[in-house]
C-alpha cells in the first residue's frame, strides 16, 4: 500500500525527471541531484494550496487570539481549564478557524520526507536485490534501460551516502550544517508574533523552531545526502514562496526582535 501510493510514484516521477535531464544534457553526471531539486520545487508547488491555507489559518488564529472576547474568556475561566477549552472551541467554530490547521502542512510533508528518502535509497539500488526491486517499480512510460543504473554523483557528493566534504583530511558535514542553518532561517523568517507569548502554542512553536533545525541537521548528517539536498532545496523554495506572498518577517533575524516577540507589553494587536 505504502509502496504503491507513495514510493513507486515518487520513484517514477524522479526517474521521469532524471530521464528528461539525460536527454536534454546528454550526461548523467549531476543529473540525479538536479532531479531531486526539480522534484522539490514541484512538490512545493503542489503543496502551495496547503501552505497558503496554513498562512491564512495562522493569521486568523493570531487575530482571534488578540480579540477582546478571547482575552476575556482567558481571564474569566483561568481556573477552569475544561470550561476554557469549551469556550475556546465555541469561538473556533464561530470564527471558522481550525486550531490544527497550522499542522496540516507539516503532517502532509512528513510522508513526503519519508517517501522521498525511501525513493532515493531505492533508486540508488547499489546492490542486486534493491536493483531487482527497482526494476519492478517502473511504470510503462519510463525507459528503464536508459535510466538504470542511476548516476548518484552530485557535485562532491554521493547522493546515496551521508555527505562529507574533506578539508585537510577532515570530513566536514557541510550539507548538514546548511540544512540546520536554512531550517533555522526559514522558521525565523516565517515566525509570526504570538498573541500570547506565554501560552502553550507559542511555547511549542519556540521549541519547534529550536529543535527542527537540529533534528533535520541530524537527519542530513546521518542519512543519504539526497535527503539533505531535498531539505536545503525545500527550505529555500519555501522562503522564496513566502517572500513572494509578502509574509517574510525579516525583523525576526535582528537580535532585538526576539525580546520584542516574547514581551507581552510590546505585542501588536
Amino acid at each position: 500500500m505504502w509502496d504503491t501510493l507513495i514510493i513507486e510514484p515518487f520513484i517514477n516521477v524522479l526517474m521521469a525527471i532524471y530521464s528528461f535531464l539525460l536527454n536534454v544534457f546528454g550526461t548523467s553526471e549531476n543529473m540525479f541531484g538536479l532531479a531531486i531539486i526539480i522534484f522539490t520545487v514541484l512538490t512545493r508547488l503542489l503543496l502551495y494550496p496547503f501552505t497558503a491555507s496554513q498562512q491564512k489559518n495562522m493569521k486568523a488564529m493570531q487575530d482571534l487570539q488578540s480579540s477582546k472576547r478571547w482575552q476575556d474568556i482567558q481571564k474569566k475561566y483561568k481556573n477552569d481549564k475544561e470550561k476554557l477549552a469549551q469556550e475556546q472551541m465555541k469561538i473556533y467554530q464561530e470564527m471558522g478557524v481550525n486550531p490544527l490547521g497550522s499542522c496540516l502542512s507539516f503532517i502532509i510533508q512528513f510522508p513526503i520526507i519519508i517517501g522521498l528518502y525511501q525513493a532515493i535509497i531505492r533508486a540508488m539500488a547499489d546492490t542486486p536485490v534493491p536493483l531487482l526491486k527497482l526494476s519492478e517499480s517502473f511504470y510503462g512510460f519510463i525507459n528503464a534501460a536508459q535510466v538504470v543504473p542511476l548516476n548518484s554523483h552530485f557535485l562532491w557528493m554521493d547522493l546515496g551516502q551521508p555527505e562529507r566534504l574533506y578539508v585537510f583530511g577532515f570530513g566536514v558535514p557541510t550539507l548538514a550544517i546548511l540544512v540546520a542553518i536554512s531550517t533555522y532561517f526559514q522558521s525565523k523568517l516565517m515566525a509570526t508574533t504570538p498573541a500570547n507569548p506565554g501560552d502553550q502554542g507559542a511555547q511549542i512553536a519556540r521549541m519547534m523552531n529550536l529543535y527542527m533545525p537540529l533534528m533535520l541537521g541530524y537527519f542530513a548528517y546521518s542519512f543519504a545526502s539526497g535527503l539533505a539536498v531535498y531539505f536545503v532545496a525545500s527550505n529555500l523554495v519555501t522562503i522564496l514562496q513566502y517572500a513572494l506572498m509578502g509574509k517574510l518577517n525579516w525583523r525576526n533575524l535582528l537580535p532585538s526582535r526576539k525580546t520584542e516577540e516574547i514581551t507581552p507589553t510590546t505585542r501588536k494587536s
Binding site: I114, Y117, Q118, I121, M124, D126, T127, P128, V129, P130, L131, L132, K133, S135, A144, A145, Q146, V148, P149, N151, G160, Q200, Q203, I204, M207, M208, Y211, M215, Y218, F219, S222, F223, A224, L227
Partner: protein
Amino acid sequence: MKPKRFLILAILILSTIVLSGCSTFSANSWPGITFDPSSNRVFVAYNTGVFAVDANSGTQVWRYPAEPDQNKTFFASPALTVDGKLIVGGYDNILRALDAGSGNEVWTFAGASNRYIGSAAVVNEMIFAPNADERLYALDLDGQPIWERPFAAGQALWAKPAIKENNGVLYLTSLDKSVYAAEAETGNQLWKKTLPGVSVGTPILDEGGNLYLGTFANQVIVLEPTQGNELWKVETNGWVWSSPIIVGDTLYFGDLEGFFYAVNRTTGNIEWQIQPDGHVIGAPLFLEDQIFFGTESGTIYAVDLRGNIMWNRTAGGSIYSQPVSNGELVIVALHEADNLLVAYDLNGNQQWSFAPANQ
C-alpha cells in the same frame, strides 16, 4: 522533563527510527554458491557466513567466521584456487582467502573501497576480483597485487570476469553499460563496447571466443572477441540478468518478465519459450539432457531440451542463483527462506536441506 519537551523528543526519536529503518534493505543480495568436485562440497556465501556443506548429506563442515558478525557479510560466490584456497569477497570491502578444507583465514586483501558483489575469477595462479568501487583487482595466490594499478571501469563491477585462457584476454561487464576486454597479464584495456543497457552477468564465451551477454535493454547480444563488434542479438520480453548457457547450438536463459528461452545460436531465432511462475534471474544449469533453473517465486524447474517441463518443486523463498550439481543432485540456494540450500535428485525428489544453525 516537561510533557511538551518529552513529546518533541519522542517525535525526534521516532523519526530517526523510521528513517533508519528505511535504509536497512540496501545492503542486500542473494546467496553465492560454488561446488567443488574434488572435495564433493558446496560452498555458499550468504549474509553473515560462508558455509562448507557436504554435497551428499547436506551437513555443515565448517562456517566462516565461526560466530556471525554483522560487520562481515558475504554474498559473492566463493572461488576455488588450484592450491586449495577459497576466495571470498565481502560487503566489508575485504577479499579473503580461506583454507577450503578448514575454513581458516589465510590472508586478506583490503585494497578496495567498496563491496565485493561479483565473484572472483581464478585462472591458473591469478585471481581477478571485481569490486563495486569500479576497479578490477588482480592478485597472485598470496594476495599480492599483480598489476601496477587495478583496471578501472566507468561504474561498479558486479560480475565475475570471463577469461579466455589461450589468449590471456579477460572480458568484464560494468554498470556503466559497457563490456571491456583487457590483457590478463597487465590489465591494459584492449577495447570497450558500449551496450544499449546495463549488463550485470558474466559474459559466456563459445569455442570461437564470441561473447554472449544478457542486458537490461531486453536483449541478449553476441559480440566478436577482437573488437567487440556486434554479431547478432535477440529481443526478449524483459531484462536479462544472467548470461545464457550454451548447450550444443542452443542458448538457454530467462528474463525478468518471467520467460525462459531457447535460442538457436547460429540463426538467433527463438526455438521455444515457456513462462514459469516468476522472474528468472539466475543462469540455468545443464545436466543429463535437462535444463534446471529457479524462479523468484522459489520454484525449481527441470525442462527437457524441447521445452517440456519434466518437473517443478517449490523450494521456498526466492531462487536467484544458478543451481550447482555433483552429478547426482541438483542443489539450489534460497534467498529469504527457512533453508539456505535444498538438494533434489534428477527426478525432483528432495534429498536434503540445509539451514545454518546461527545465521
